[in-house]
């Protein structure tokens, strides 16, 4: 049986396989068909409301200080352009053609039969992107990639492959959002990351979905010797149901994996978000950090660090704030050490904002709402090791803009 047939068969078998976490989303209610959108010469040629809406997820139509841009509208890749040298950016269908099915990378970091969503993405996929930083390339300016959902009741099933070759450095902003006039929809996003020896990759997802949209990202990463992977996830806006639990495998000595999630859930939103890091080589390091705020919604904040090798070091931090009088926050931090010599720790805290902190700020002249807002902003202001300062600032801005709108 050919490789493709085998993947298809495994996907077929998993078609009804419920995911380990998150409420089950019936896929029958969605369509994977959407009209084809024409390519554009520049992002400025997109409808202005799309431009404005994608700006809120860090995607700048002017492409200021970007090393490249990718824009997928529903199922059509309408723009794909890398400007930096030694950076390759293609639609995934082009890349599959060019690289003979991407055999080394296709469904290697994510199992095709993990659940019904991966199966759906395999059986009925609607493009995605392929990004490759060539060996030794240091690309400090971020590449921006936008997945935009404009078609009502669409199931947008994308599959992305991202490779940072030996000694390269690459930063990606992945902005996803639904157009404001779309009510129903689902986004299934498979992303496979390969961070080769000595490379560094940061991947910052800024999501802005609709209150009735379901989201099922499915990500996996391999981090090799002396390589660093930074995965950031920001979702400050309503979403019916979001569930993701990427698995990052540190497979070479001194590999580092850092995962940061910033979440804000209002009434009617359900977020089940976390990350798992498996450290399977000597001297690996990992941080899994989550800052979650519920203002009526439900958040399950997961984290798992598994140490399979001695001399690994990991820290897990889940902090949750409950604003308002309802909402739920469940922190599930897990440490799994399988050999002696691992050094892993966690801290988890869930509560409301301490009144004494609000009062203290009020003595300096802020009113109660301003004081609360300053504390919330501070709570979400996480310093991320290894991110270029400009990108960190951009992420902070995105958090604060969406947080301000959300509060």
């Amino acid at each position: 049986m050919s490789k493709i047939d085998e993947l298809t068969e495994r996907a077929e078998k998993a078609r009804d396989k419920k995911a380990a976490y998150g409420p089950d989303v019936p896929l029958e209610r969605y369509t994977s068909r959407a009209p084809t959108h024409k390519k554009v010469q520049t992002l400025k040629m997109l409808p202005s409301n799309y431009q404005n809406e994608s700006l809120s997820v860090g995607v700048d139509a002017a492409e200021t200080e970007r090393s490249g841009s990718f824009f997928q509208l529903d199922t059509s890749v309408v723009y794909s352009q890398a400007t930096a040298q030694n950076l390759e950016l293609l639609s995934i269908t082009e890349a599959l053609d060019k690289y003979d099915g991407l055999k080394e990378y296709w469904w290697k970091a994510v199992a095709v039969d993990a659940d019904k969503y991966t199966a759906e993405a395999a059986l009925d996929f609607s493009n995605g992107y392929f990004i490759r930083a060539k060996a030794g390339a240091k690309i400090i300016m971020p590449l921006q990639a936008c997945m935009f959902l404009a078609q009502e009741s669409l199931s947008q099933n994308v599959h992305n492959v991202i490779i940072a070759e030996e000694g390269s450095e690459l930063h990606i902003i992945s902005g996803c959002r639904t157009s404001s006039d779309v009510t129903q929809g689902i986004h299934i996003g498979v992303s496979e990351f390969y961070i080769k020896e000595g490379a560094k990759l940061s991947f910052t997802m800024i999501h802005n979905w609709g209150p009735e949209v379901a989201v099922r990202p499915r990500s996996g990463a391999f981090v090799e010797q002396d390589a660093t992977f930074i995965s950031n996830y920001v979702c400050m806006k309503p979403v019916r149901s979001l569930q993701m639990y990427p698995i990052i495998r540190c497979v070479g000595p001194r590999a580092t994996a850092l995962s940061y999630s910033l979440l804000y859930a209002t009434d009617g939103s359900h977020m089940d978000v976390g990350a798992r890091v498996i450290m399977d080589a000597e001297d690996c390091k990992s941080d899994v950090v989550s800052r979650a705020i519920t203002n009526g919604g439900e958040i399950i904040s997961r984290g798992n660090i598994t140490g399979l090798h001695s001399d690994v070091k990991g820290h897990l931090e889940c902090r949750g704030l409950i604003l308002g009088d309802h909402g739920r926050m469940l922190a599930v931090p897990e440490l799994d050490g399988a050999v002696p010599g691992v050094d892993m720790s966690h801290e988890a805290a869930v509560g409301k904002i301490a009144e004494e902190e609000i009062n203290y700020l009020m003595t300096r002249g802020l009113d109660e709402d301003e004081a609360t807002s300053a504390i919330v902003r501070g709570f979400l202001d996480v310093e991320i090791k290894g991110m270029p300062p400009a990108l960190q600032e951009e992420m902070r801005r995105a958090v604060h803009t969406t947080e301000r709108l959300g509060l």
């Binding site: 301490a354 009062n359 700020l361 009020m362 003595t363 002249g365 009113d367 300053a374 501070g378």
Partner: protein, 245 residues
């Protein structure tokens, strides 16, 4: 400037202040002595308007206005400022930002760098989370920096000298003098202050006008700060409790 009349205060259902009366005029600085638990901090936090400190009877008048029911920030914006004995750590809020917020509501001509230099707060602190990992002395100096930015008319200081090393005590004292117009001639003083202290050292530098001893939520005794402190040192607070003055 401040007139406290017949003040009764409960904290979590327990009465702490009991018929307290106190009057501080413009230009005056008063000192509060008293054992731990006598109600000193409660008095300051009640004047500042902390909601946990529930006024069951009496009233607080500031510049002829009844402020008993005002919120903390309303009082701050009217010109009342406080430095805390043990302020909370505020994660993610930078000291520099907070000082600027205070200046925006208070002293608009405030120059952060000059003032910080004056009170030995290095610029690297501006980008640190408020009170996170600060030593006792650093907390006190950064509290004073925030007050300089606010420039309040009534300054409430809860043990501004505790945890401050000898080298900095003079600096802290002189900053307090500046905040309270003590560096000006008496008729040019427009600020008023109320200072809690256990140690006399600070009073060598800040020449207060009057001192009070708080016993069981009441002012048991008032008088010259130096003399009262001397008596307390000699005879202890027991004498104040016994003393019918």
């Amino acid at each position: 400037m401040l007139d406290i009349q017949n003040l009764h205060v409960e904290v979590d259902g327990k009465q702490i202040l009991n018929d307290l009366n106190l009057n501080i005029r413009e230009g005056e600085t008063h000192v509060l002595f008293g054992q731990n638990g006598s109600g000193k901090t409660t008095l300051l936090l009640t004047i500042m308007g902390f909601p946990r400190y529930h006024v069951t009877k009496g009233r607080i008048i500031f510049r002829r206005k009844n402020i008993t029911d005002l919120s903390i920030n309303e009082r701050a914006n009217l010109g009342i400022g406080m430095s805390f004995q043990q302020p909370p750590t505020i994660h993610g809020v930078k000291l520099g930002d907070l000082v600027e917020i205070a200046a925006k509501h208070g002293n608009r001509e405030f120059d952060l760098e000059t003032m910080a230099k004056m009170i030995h707060v290095p610029p690297s602190f501006f980008n640190r989370d408020v009170n996170l990992g600060f030593s006792g002395g650093e907390v006190k100096r950064t509290e004073l920096l925030q007050l300089l930015a606010q420039n309040p008319d009534l300054v409430l200081l809860d043990e501004p000298d505790s945890g401050v090393d000898l080298e900095n005590i003079e600096l802290v004292g002189e900053t307090i003098n500046k905040l309270l117009d003590r560096d000006k001639r008496s008729r040019e003083r427009h600020k008023a202050g109320l200072i809690i202290t256990h140690a006399g050292g600070i009073l060598q530098i800040v020449k207060a006008d009057k001192a009070h001893v708080l016993v069981d939520g009441q002012i048991a005794c008032s008088g010259n700060p130096g003399e009262l402190l001397h008596d307390i040192c000699e005879l202890g607070y027991e004498e104040c409790i016994r003393c019918p003055r």
